[in-house]
Amino acid sequence: MKQSKFAIVRTHKLTRDVWELVLAGDTSAVTAPGQFVNIALPGRFLRRPISVCNWTADELTLLVKEAGEGTRELVRMAPGTELDVLSGLGNGFDPSKAAGKNTVLVGGGIGIAPLVGLSIRMREQGQTPAVVLGYRSAEESFYQAVFAAWNMDLRIATEDGSIGARGFVTDVLRDFPEDVYVLACGPTPMLRAVHGLPNVTGGQFSFEARMACGFGACVGCSIPTAGGPRRVCKDGPVFQKEEIVW
């Protein structure tokens, strides 16, 4: 974990309520895709935990969904605004565990964010996972073109069928053969449905929770697991399939 200042480089509205933010600063604490940052906002007591979409040595890309007043203010901040950021939080995905497996990255809504940095690093390591992205509708979809440019087996599901298959990511995942290893991030009902698919035999699931500290001190975000209560912020946000209990 590192506490440091990041400056907003640019913000870009992707859909009605999802924005792309690029921040400049010291990203040395970010070591794995799926980690998150916790951002202090003026006038708000708690920081806002945001998954890292992608990072370079001196820039972070975040996808932020306007979930309340804090995030609404964050995405509208002017370029140049300095933010107090705790970076390098959480364990992140471990793509080495997916090596040699029939791997599918599964993202739902804003949960697609960490799959970007994950795809980039897996491709660098010679892994070519399939990708399944779920959205409510074409209007609420984002970043499809980013994934489409990578020549991966990319499949889309929308609830209204306006692009890709009509339905949920699970409807698409069912078409995959036996023994799928998933790397999944999305709303809890999606994670639970993916976790329960008969052809999903292993994988890593990234959870979200309301947090206070984000670094393991308050245990406000603990969830039950097979090994007892674990903190989403410090022991997760990524948990192995075997650890998860519903």
Binding site: Q3, L46, R210, C213, F215, A217, G220, C221, P229
Partner: protein, 305 residues
């Protein structure tokens, strides 16, 4: 040179700053980012006899100037803490530790304190009486002077260590509870615990917290804590650890002027992991500004003259 040391019922702390129970775990997370030995002490996570997994999610909600938590006393249980956490604490922190103890019956409080008798690091026992009494329909021990006195008596008889009762602010007259604890031999008091609160989600029209209610902490509670420390300082002679909304050397000094001998810092650690370090570094400057060479001279200073 300002003397920052303070005395709590015979235990000397090198400075009055103590991370509060529940905001600091058993110290490990903060030891990754700074040397815990700068601290006066720290109060470990409230520990009960049996392991507890706590309340369902969500457990955290933001409020104006603070937060609600409904963690529900999640902890590994006293035996596991003594076996697995205490040896680690001994390596990370060489000063006196405050062992926060929870309980749901008088017997549990006594048993937990008895188990700590041989734990050298546990210099002070901080007894959290904001717990529901399972033998009194779940009414908090700390809301009734008689029940608070009974817990004090139960732990007083089983330990030679200084006992500090941690008081809940969710009462009509906190001074009455404080006097009841003092009369049964409490060596000190710690106040305040969190204030009971609720937030409701406009979209779902339901309480945000799965537990519905949670404890309010953060700067929002600071003036309430200062007032209660003031009231209790007028009512008892035993030392008070002031707790509630402190987030700077200035607010720590204000808490001491109200009557606190030492100061616990809770929620501030969660939003700024270096909060206690910064407060300790800033204390000498604040003392100079206030014209004291010994910080202990601030305690109760607002009551005189």
């Amino acid at each position: 040179m300002v003397d920052l040391s303070v005395n709590l019922a015979g235990v000397t702390l090198k400075n009055p700053i103590i991370p509060a129970s529940g905001a600091f775990g058993y110290g490990r997370e903060f030891a990754e980012i700074y040397d815990l030995n700068i601290l006066g002490s720290f109060s470990w996570k409230g520990t009960t006899a049996a392991p507890r997994s706590g309340n369902p999610q969500p457990r955290i909600a933001e409020t104006p100037g603070g937060m609600l938590n409904a963690v529900g006393l999640q902890n590994p249980g006293m035996d596991a803490v003594i076996r697995e956490e205490v040896p680690g604490i001994a390596k990370l922190f060489h000063g006196p530790v405050i062992a926060n103890v929870g309980g749901f019956t008088l017997e549990e409080y006594a048993e937990n304190c008895r188990k700590l008798e041989d734990v050298e690091q546990a210099a002070i026992l901080e007894v959290n009486i904001s717990c529901p009494n399972v033998h009194a329909g779940g009414k908090n021990f700390g809301c009734d002077p008689k029940a608070a006195a009974e817990v004090t008596r139960a732990v007083r008889t089983v330990t030679k260590k200084p006992v500090f009762m941690k008081l809940t602010p969710n009462v009509t007259d906190i001074a009455e509870i404080a006097r009841a604890c003092e009369a049964e031999g409490a060596d000190g008091l710690c106040l305040i615990n969190t204030l009971l609160g609720m937030r409701i989600d406009l979209n779902t029209r339901r309480p945000i917290l799965a537990n519905r209610t949670g404890g309010l902490s953060g700067p929002a509670v600071f003036p309430v804590a200062v007032r209660m420390v003031w009231d209790v300082y007028e009512a008892v002679k035993i030392p008070i650890i002031g707790c509630g909304g402190v987030d700077s050397a200035e607010t720590a000094a204000e808490m001491m002027l109200a009557g606190a001998a030492a100061v616990e810092v809770g929620a501030a650690n969660l939003i700024d992991p270096y909060a206690c370090k910064t407060i300790i570094e800033d204390l000498p400057g604040v003392c100079k500004r206030l014209g004291v060479t010994k910080i202990s001279e601030l305690t109760g200073g607002a009551h005189h003259g």
